[in-house]
């Protein structure tokens, strides 16, 4: 194996919440030195350090700001430098750091970055070939550019809800396309921005290598989101089709859907692509009479009769676990797979074989022990990539960044510490209150609680 591809790249990560911190985490997995700009002013800390959690056993501990599981996922392998960017001294230090770095990631509104004097024009003045990603809801140009955004509200705004929704009953008792949009949730759009940022950063690094020039990436999550459903937008341009909400059905496969399995809230997906799949499916479920039934012989016929076919499929899947259905159907080459919960994914033999979840050992004082975290969807045959370690403790790298990288003296550093510009503990703030687990279950935020889980 050769080394990590981004070994000599330094990233200043000013970003917060999900999208860009996760891009920074991926760059760290690839070997970049990612210096996360933290703050010890509790009121300005990012929410993933303070309230997002989840905390071990739903109980924030003494070092609550180090303990959020989502924070740990998004900031693994980074360094932490605390700066209070409201001060001129901190802004000057940040510019010095940028001048010896390659990439800046940030997701402040255009207004905030300009106020801090940290917009692209100002930073390029200290680092002419800088690569900078500015991630906002709507971008730095256009009539909506001043609007803030959250992924949960952005997702339907960029159109996913037009192509996602349950079927509805019509008067005759059969099912028809739905009118009500639905969501993938889980901050879906954030991750579309993450992947768009990674492609842009890598293209910009290659461009810099070729030309010596930097790049500013004006990443609008709304626009990035729309580019992922481009096929649906083009269908409107050509055919005037505004929406397509087919539940779990497919326009050219049947049966195709999500079916209940043995156990509580257990589901399996099945896609019968063509006539060959259909015959194999019928044999596998021991229903040779279905295979011979001329009413179901073609895809078109099966699509027309899918209400009744779906009840036949459900009656079969209900008696089996989702893994049993997968094994029976995959044995005969028919696409099928369980709807995994996170607990099932963590235990799944394929994910384990591939090493998709990576184990991290945390510093003892955090009380987090050893935990598994999601990795990346790609592997290299010779380059190394992988989680380097836990998220940094607050201000863990102050000394490294200020003394080793920027050559500050003891005296200069203690002046910053006395002004609380730098620090290693929150100034102000208190452990976040958590909604009790039984209330979370009652509200439906949590579908099931497993007291015997393996952490």
């Amino acid at each position: 194996m050769s080394g990590r591809p981004l070994e000599n790249i330094r990233v200043v990560d000013l970003s917060r919440v999900f999208a860009m911190p996760f891009a920074g985490a991926n760059l760290a997995d690839l070997g970049a030195e990612v210096i996360k700009i933290d703050t010890c002013q509790a009121q300005f800390m990012e929410t993933t350090r303070t309230i997002t959690g989840p905390f071990p056993d739903n109980q924030p501990g003494e070092l609550w700001w180090e303990q959020g599981g989502t924070f740990q996922t998004l900031n693994r392998g980074k360094r932490s430098l605390t700066l209070d960017l409201r001060s001129d001294e901190a802004q000057a230090i940040l510019k010095e750091l940028v001048s010896v770095s390659d990439i800046v990631l940030e997701n402040f509104t255009p207004r905030v970055m300009a106020r801090f004097g940290l917009d692209y024009a100002s930073l390029r003045a200290v680092k002419p070939d800088l690569i900078m990603v500015s991630n906002t809801g709507y971008g730095h140009s256009g009539p909506w550019s001043s609007f803030g955004a959250m992924a949960s509200a952005l997702e339907p705004t960029h159109g996913t809800g037009a192509f996602m929704g349950y079927l509805e009953d019509n008067e005759s008792g059969s099912l028809r396309s739905g009118n009500v949009p639905n969501k993938m949730g889980n901050s879906y759009t954030d991750f579309l921005a993450t992947w768009t940022a990674l492609v842009s950063v890598m293209a910009a690094l290659l461009h810099r290598h070729e030309t010596g020039r930097g790049t500013w990436v004006d990443l609008a999550m709304y626009q990035a989101g729309a580019s992922f459903i481009g096929e649906g937008l083009l269908a409107y341009s050509f055919n005037g089709e505004r929406a397509r909400r087919m539940g779990n059905r497919h326009s050219s496969m049947a049966p195709h859907g999500c079916f209940p399995c043995f156990g509580e809230d257990q589901w399996v997906t099945i896609a019968v692509r063509d006539d060959e799949d259909w015959l194999a499916f019928c044999r596998a479920i021991g229903a040779s009479e279905l295979a011979a039934d001329p009413r179901y012989a073609t895809t078109q016929q099966r699509i027309e009769k899918q209400d009744e076919l779906e009840s036949i499929v459900s009656n079969w899947t209900r008696q089996l676990t989702s893994y049993e259905v997968m094994e029976i159907l995959q044995c005969v080459g028919v696409p099928a797979g369980p709807v995994f919960t996170a607990g099932q994914s963590l235990a799944d033999p394929h994910f384990r074989h591939r090493g998709f979840f990576e184990q991290v050992t945390h510093p003892a004082e955090t009380g987090l022990g050893d935990k598994a975290y999601i990795g990346r969807g790609w592997k290299f045959s010779s380059s190394t990539a992988g989680i380097l370690g836990p998220a940094p403790l607050l201000g863990e790298s102050n000394d490294y960044a200020l003394r080793q990288v920027l050559g500050k003296t003891e005296d200069q550093i203690s002046v910053l510490a006395n002004a609380n510009t730098i620090g290693t503990e929150p100034v102000g703030g208190r452990p976040p209150s958590q909604v009790p687990m039984d209330t979370q279950v009652e509200l439906g935020w949590v579908a099931a609680f497993d007291p015997d889980f393996v952490g």
């Binding site: 949960s152 293209a203 580019s227 929406a243 999500c258 696409p335 998709f356 598994a372 790609w378 290299f380």
Partner: protein
Amino acid sequence: MLGGLRVLDLGPGIAPSFCAKMLADYGAEVIKVEPPGNGDPARGMGPFVGDDPHLEKSIPFLYLNTGKWGVSLDYSCDTGLGILHQLLDEADVLVEGFPPSVTGGSGISYSELSRSHPRLVVTSVTPFGQDGPYRDFQATDIITCAMSGLMYHSGDSDREPLRNALDQSLYVAGANAAAATLVAVFARLTSGEGQHVDVSVSECLAAHLVQPVPYYNYMGATKGRRPVRGSGFEELMPARDGYVVPSVQGSQPWETVADLIGLEELHDPRFASGAGRIAHGEELKALLVEGLAQWDRLPLFLASGERRLVFGMAQDAGDLVACPHLEARGFYHEVDHPVAGSATYPGMGAALSDYPQRTPSPAPLLGEHNSEVFGAKLGYDADELAALRYAGVI
């Protein structure tokens, strides 16, 4: 940006083609190589322009293959494989999405290609990756959505999980593949060697689960689907002409939210805190429904933005294609295709300084650039090309 990067795109379907399309959007020179006859199976995917099932009218294909050259080549025969290797002599990257069992021993597996082309980056995008017990499993988008774990969280908590919109697992994998491909190209600057990039569709989407995974291994909780109970904030709620997402996020006080929706009862101090909104969720939802019924989507969305709130609205494809904001950002391009006709195409997700957005060329007709690529580039003369055509190789 990627001027000079030469990519061969073997397809098939969505994920590898979207990967290569992104590389083309960023300036790479991409040649799509399709089997003669029916071409990439994506050409058979609907919807079709004018509902006419024609090889040159598949809307997914037209979207996925803008900005590429196109050749037809049967590389399952020795002559065709030889020509593919000549193309590879001039390429930096090969992108493909065939099942590992198909590529093995076919002349296009990485172990074979790396011997003849050690500098080549080969990116393989498959449902479950190149190893592991599910390596050879069959999958379509609904299966990879389900096995990524994301689908469990999609839809309503009192109903079955709902498939994600428009083959999203495949688009997400395509974008991941583009990023990982460029990482390998970057690594080659120092190593001088190519490598194999193994992209798993299900894992790319599983990487989105930055909340559900720690919910489970930090506290034993399985995060649910969209709750049916609760205040309705951060969820899709009915407005007068469609659905909106009211939000309390965005660091503004509750009064700003209550003012915007414009219902006096919302100023009740019980709703002013997060805990209060949870405790009185059902009551709040009833008021919210009443208040939102006075609003159309767009005016509410604009008023929210002006107050520094972050409401969303459910837009359909027609709304998005007519969106003045996306238009102002140069997102849309008029692209004219010789068979499908002219239409408004969505462009790149990001705007890059030093690289103005350009109108891409339309998706290639099947074998459209055979003469340019095999003739001008590889040096086959007219008689040789005719012979290859007669033999069904191109």
